[in-house]
Structures are given as structure tokens and as C-alpha cells.
């Protein structure tokens, strides 16, 4: 039998689990400004995360999707994007959204159940958080098609989990992107878990998720998802390729979900209690910190100061968000608004329902 097609999957990693370079580093890896900014983004992500979990515990936020341990993934992919590019996140990319210009207040509003949090003042073309698993991958392809049709050199970065790779939507998105050669960078964040199920249940133990698009002609690359340098450089390359008309790419970031699936979840029921604490693939923040310290661009002291600074920043944002009203504290949101935005203009029937609701709730 003759061979009619061959494929392979490469693996990218620059820093080992201790943060030491495993080979030659790309140029940017020596630029302190850029690296320190990304480092700051990662620390902010972890700070925000901790605050959001605490707020949820006291009933001020709804269920929250924790991103502990995935800081390199979300910052690396976001930092590699340009302003005109579009981020299509799932629900665990707080850090990426923050990097792109969504504010801490907006995120807090969103997780507090206030839809105004998805009305971003900043990156107006970035998509809002997507909760149904996988649907958003197709939106990314549609957006990319629009850019291609209009001749705009913009890339769309679509993010989804290892679990999501099982959804037909994700496959259909890869297929459409392949057929249309749409400028999309698909990022599968393989954090090993989909709620309680290990990536093997999604087929991840048999083949890298990066390979899911091979049969569709979409190159796939597996990346150490706790190595900021590798994530950043791979996404830079894929996004540039997309903007140039080179077509879609699928990047798999191998990381580890450090926390619970969400604040409603108790992972001790299905994995060792302290597993997260040992960061099986290395703590991404620690790894970058060691690299920066080794380069002489950073110190533990600076880290302490940064932590303090960001703590203050996050707290200030929470104070600000509270001005909008929360689930438990005044000023309460106005329930009359719940009839808005079902349609572009509220139909008369809905207006009657609004009036009736106000009459009843007022009584």
C-alpha cells in the first residue's frame, strides 16, 4: 500500500519545570519590559481569582470558574494578540480578558450576575464569556470569515477546554475554518480535567488534542501550557500566520487545573485532595519568576511589592463594582431591566409583562 498523507505534531517548550531554559530562547525572552508586563498579568490573574472565590463564598458573586494554575496559558495567548484581533473566550480566561482591556469591575459585575459586565468599554469586538461548552468556536470562525471577506488583517483567537474538544461544534468549527481558510487560532486549553473527568474521557490519552484538526488540514502544535515563553511565541506565530492569510492553526496548551472546576465543585470527590498544591506541571508563575530572576530582571522583593499593589488594585475594583449594586447589597439592580434586550425593541407584550411585574413586586 502506498502512503498518501503524512502528519506530525510538534511540542514546544522553552523553560523547564524549574524555569530554566531548555535550549535557545527567542529574542523577546530577553526583553524585560514585555516579560515583566506578562508576569504582572499572570500575578493579577491569580489575585483576581482568589478575590472572586472569596466573594463567591460570601454570596456576593454567583458560581465562579477558577483559573488557578492556568495563568501562563491565558496571559500568553492574550499577549500574543494585536489590538484589532478578536478574543473568543470560554469561561476560564479572566486573565486573557483583563489583558485585552476588559476591566476588573466588568468581570466582577459579570460573575455577580449583572449582564452589564459583558458590555465591555474596552475591547468592543472581543466576545463575551461563553458558558455552553464549545459553541463559541464556531462564532470565532464566523467572525474570522467576516474579516477575511472585508480584507482586514485580523486574527481571531478561540479558546476552549480539553473537554470541549468532544463537542461536534468544535470539530465543525475546525472544518469550516479549514475549508474557508479563515484566520482563526484555536487554542485548546488542556487542563487535564473536565469537571470530574480526566482528559482521557475526551480521548486525550490516545492522541494529543493538537492532532484533532490534522485530518482537516489544520496544523496542530502541542505546547507546554505552563511555560509562558512557549505559549506566547507559538500564539504569536499562529496569529501572524492567520493575519497573513495562512489559515487556521490548532494549539494545545498542556496545563493543569489547579483549583476546583468552579466554586460549586468539590474536586476532593474525584482527585487527590492536595493534588493542585503540588502543581503537577510546575507553577507557571514560579517558573517565569525564576527565569526573570535568573536574567536579573526581577526579585522576590519586587514580587512582594507587586502582590501588594495588585491586592489594592483588585480591592479598589471590587469597591467600584459594588457601586453598581450586587446580589446581596444595595444598590440593588433594577428588576424592571430584565425585560430589556430580549429584542432590539421591547414588544408590547413584554412591556405589559414588565408593568405587571412591577405592580406585583411593588405590592
Amino acid at each position: 500500500m502506498t502512503i498518501v498523507a503524512r502528519f506530525e505534531i510538534h511540542y514546544s517548550r522553552f523553560l523547564d519545570a524549574e524555569g530554566k531554559a531548555v535550549g535557545a530562547l527567542p529574542a523577546f525572552a530577553r526583553d524585560p519590559g514585555e516579560l515583566v508586563a506578562m508576569y504582572r498579568g499572570m500575578v493579577l490573574t491569580r489575585r483576581f481569582d482568589a478575590k472572586a472565590v472569596a466573594l463567591q463564598r460570601t454570596g456576593r458573586l454567583g458560581t465562579f470558574a477558577v483559573s488557578l494554575g492556568q495563568e501562563a496559558a491565558v496571559i500568553g495567548l492574550a499577549a500574543a494578540m494585536r489590538e484589532g484581533d478578536v478574543l473568543v473566550p470560554s469561561y476560564r480566561e479572566s486573565g486573557a480578558m483583563l489583558w485585552r482591556g476588559v476591566t476588573l469591575e466588568e468581570l466582577l459585575l459579570y460573575w455577580g450576575g449583572d449582564e452589564r459586565g459583558s458590555d465591555f468599554a474596552g475591547p468592543r469586538d472581543d466576545f463575551p464569556v461563553a458558558v455552553p461548552v464549545g459553541t463559541q468556536a464556531l462564532h470565532a470562525v464566523g467572525a474570522a470569515y467576516a474579516f477575511k471577506l472585508r480584507g482586514e488583517a485580523r486574527a481571531v483567537v478561540a479558546v476552549f477546554g480539553d473537554g470541549a474538544t468532544s463537542k461536534g461544534d468544535v470539530y465543525e468549527a475546525l472544518n469550516f475554518a479549514g475549508v474557508w481558510q479563515a484566520p482563526v487560532v484555536f487554542v485548546a486549553v488542556n487542563n487535564q480535567w473536565a469537571i470530574s473527568t480526566f482528559q482521557g474521557f475526551a480521548g486525550g490519552e490516545r492522541r494529543p488534542f493538537a492532532a484533532r484538526g490534522l485530518g482537516l488540514g489544520i496544523p496542530g502544535i502541542r505546547v507546554d501550557g505552563n511555560d509562558l515563553l512557549a505559549i506566547y511565541s507559538t500564539t504569536l506565530w499562529a496569529a501572524a500566520r492567520a493575519r497573513r492569510g495562512g489559515g487556521p492553526t490548532l494549539i494545545e496548551l498542556v496545563t493543569y487545573r489547579g483549583g476546583a472546576h468552579s466554586t460549586s465543585d468539590d474536586p476532593t470527590k474525584y482527585r487527590p485532595k492536595d493534588e493542585w498544591a503540588s502543581f503537577p506541571l510546575g507553577d507557571p508563575i514560579e517558573r517565569l519568576k525564576q527565569h526573570l530572576i535568573a536574567l536579573g530582571h526581577w526579585s522576590e522583593d519586587q514580587h512582594e511589592k507587586l502582590e501588594e499593589e495588585l491586592k489594592v488594585e483588585v480591592l479598589a475594583a471590587w469597591k467600584e463594582a459594588q457601586q453598581y449594586g450586587t446580589m446581596t447589597e444595595e444598590p440593588f439592580l433594577d428588576p424592571a431591566t430584565m425585560f430589556d434586550d430580549v429584542f432590539a425593541e421591547t414588544p408590547s407584550d413584554l412591556e405589559s409583562q414588565r408593568r405587571y411585574m412591577l405592580e406585583i413586586e411593588g405590592s
Partner: protein, 338 residues
């Protein structure tokens, strides 16, 4: 004014808007080079190019999901689903995403997708080419559900749908594509040429969404219907010789309640008719609303004539289809009632 059948009217609506707005794009299976299995997009790819009239892979979820992303980024996509029976693989994208995007972003994001799809039986299509699933869309808040019954409305409503910033599911009763149909398959087919609603302006015009149309005024009974049954209802009322007011709902959701209620308050009798399965069908909503608003005017229970509560049987199309006999029977019963 030109004479157009419903296919031509739909094509004309698409043509007018593609010409007017470069952001209007069409995507669907076989819509491009071939022009669609019902020819509704024939010639459009030649005219507007293969990047605006897109032959899509067989993946209804993919088509609708991609259309959502296009719509968020400035395009105005018209997706064709080849048969309404095949819309279900895209149902999740419609309900969970398309219908909800505006709401969950406080109005910041929306995607003005129009989904066109042929529905209804009468073409020997069996259970996989005959369904009328409008009820399940009318129940979803955040999308508009529309079904024209003639070429004039088809064009005017389709233009309104595409121009609307709301998502629209636009059902096209395929049995009406080539001519009005009174429910009798044994009669020779009639064309739209001799029908007043077959007169269609060539250029731009709109028929507003949210408005039902009184097809014929009458005093003794109101028949509330839409799609293919509009024509069957007229024939049945004529056959009985009752002075019926016939209302074509057209915009199923949001619904023009006032037109319905005013009529039934006047006539005191109401029959609701549609081709879809009765149980849990859209007719239930019509009846529930009308009995509520017109309770004290009603002289008889509101009747429903609809498809039986079975899949559309391949071999028994005409026993399944709620034809003239069933309507006549219902009208007679209703007129006899106290």
C-alpha cells in the same frame, strides 16, 4: 409590479438586499453554484460572488454558529437550512446563542441572522421533508418566528427580517412555492399568476414584522391560521358558505394579539388551524391567549384543526394533512354550537 411565485419573491428579496447592503451574505447547503434545491438563491452567486453566496458543508450547527460570528462582526447573514426537518442540529446554536446573545450582554452584542427554511408537507417528502416545527421556535424568547403564506408577504417579510437586528427564523411553506394550494391534491396546480398576492414589486419594500393580516373580513367566525392553511381555510369557509374572517398570523412571535382579539370579540367564534402536529403546537398559544382575552364574547369553544399527533407519514400525506374536509367539519360543528 411583476408576477412572481414565492421562490422568485424570495430570490428577489435576497437580490434587492444584497445589492443594497454589501454586508448581506448567504450561506447554506447547495445555495451557491447550484442555487438551492428549491432554486431560491439561483443566480445570486454568479451576481455577488462565491464569498457572499457560500456553499457550506453539511452541518446545520456549523452554518448557524458561523453565521452568528459573522453577524457579530458586521455582516448580515442569511442562512438557508435545506429543510426545516434538518434545523435541529442547529437548535442549540439558535437557542443557547443566537437568541440569547443580546440579553446576556446587556444589548452590547447581537447577531442579526435570518434563518430561512422550507417547511410543511404536500410534496411526498415523508417524515424527514415535511415537518412544521414553528412551535418550538415561537417558545424561545429572543428570536422572531415568521411564516409567510404568499409571494408578496414572503418578499416584504424577508426584507424586514434581514434588516431586523433581531434574529429571525423564517419558515417557507414549500407547498406554496409555486402556487396557492387549497388542500386538494387532485386538482390541477394553480400558479401565483392569477392570485393578487402574486403581484410583487420588483424593488425594495417591506411588510412589517409583528402584524397579522386580515385576509378576508367576516362576521360569523374567525379563522386564525398561517402558512399553507391560509388557503385551505379560505376554501373551506367558501365551501361551507360561512362568513368567516380569516387572519394570517404571519409573524408568529412576537404575536400581534390585538388583531386576533378584536376579530374574535366581533365574531364570537374562533377556529385555529395549522399543519403542525396539534399537541403542544403553536395553536395552543393562540387558543390560550384568545380564550383569555375574548372569554365573554365566545359563543363556542375555540376549535383547533391541525396535523395529527404522529410523525408525517410517508404514504398517507393527504390523510395527515389538515385539509378542507377537516376544516369544514370543524366549522360546521362550531356554527352548530350553542
Amino acid at each position: 409590479m411583476a408576477k412572481m411565485n414565492m421562490i422568485e419573491a424570495i430570490r428577489s428579496a435576497l437580490d434587492v438586499l444584497m445589492d443594497k447592503d454589501p454586508n448581506v451574505v448567504i450561506l447554506g447547503q447547495d445555495v451557491g453554484y447550484f442555487g438551492g434545491v428549491f432554486r431560491c438563491t439561483d443566480g445570486l452567486q454568479r451576481k455577488y460572488g462565491e464569498h457572499r453566496v457560500i456553499d457550506a458543508p453539511i452541518s446545520e450547527g456549523g452554518i448557524i454558529g458561523a453565521a452568528i460570528g459573522m453577524g457579530v462582526n458586521g455582516l448580515r447573514p442569511v442562512a438557508e437550512i435545506q429543510f426545516a426537518d434538518y434545523i435541529y442540529p442547529g437548535f442549540d446554536q439558535i437557542v443557547s446563542e443566537l437568541a440569547r446573545l443580546r440579553y446576556r450582554t446587556c444589548g452590547e452584542f447581537f447577531s442579526p441572522v435570518t434563518i430561512r427554511t422550507p417547511c410543511g408537507g404536500g410534496i411526498r417528502g415523508g417524515q424527514t421533508h415535511s415537518q412544521s416545527p414553528e412551535a418550538i421556535f415561537a417558545h424561545i424568547s429572543g428570536i422572531r418566528t415568521v411564516m409567510p403564506s404568499n409571494p408578496y408577504d414572503a418578499k416584504g417579510l424577508l426584507i424586514s427580517s434581514i434588516e431586523s437586528d433581531d434574529p429571525v427564523v423564517f419558515f417557507e411553506p414549500k407547498r406554496l412555492y409555486n402556487g396557492p394550494f387549497d388542500g386538494d391534491p387532485d386538482k390541477p396546480a394553480i400558479s401565483w399568476v392569477s392570485h393578487p398576492k402574486g403581484e410583487v414589486p420588483e424593488g425594495y419594500y417591506t411588510v412589517p414584522l409583528d402584524t397579522a393580516e386580515i385576509i378576508k373580513t367576516g362576521e360569523e367566525l374567525t379563522i386564525v391560521t398561517y402558512g399553507t392553511l391560509v388557503h385551505v381555510a379560505q376554501a373551506a369557509a367558501d365551501a361551507v358558505g360561512v362568513d368567516a374572517e380569516i387572519i394570517d398570523v404571519r409573524s408568529l412571535a412576537p404575536l400581534d394579539v390585538k388583531t386576533l382579539v378584536d376579530s374574535v370579540n366581533k365574531t364570537g367564534r374562533c377556529l385555529v388551524a395549522h399543519e403542525a402536529t396539534r399537541f403542544g403546537g403553536y395553536g395552543g398559544e393562540l387558543v390560550a391567549r384568545i380564550q383569555k382575552e375574548c372569554f365573554y364574547s365566545l359563543q363556542a369553544p375555540i376549535g383547533r384543526v391541525a396535523g395529527w399527533d404522529t410523525p408525517y407519514p410517508h404514504a398517507f400525506e393527504w390523510q395527515y394533512f389538515p385539509g378542507k374536509k377537516r376544516l369544514i367539519n370543524a366549522i360546521n360543528k362550531m356554527m352548530e354550537a350553542a
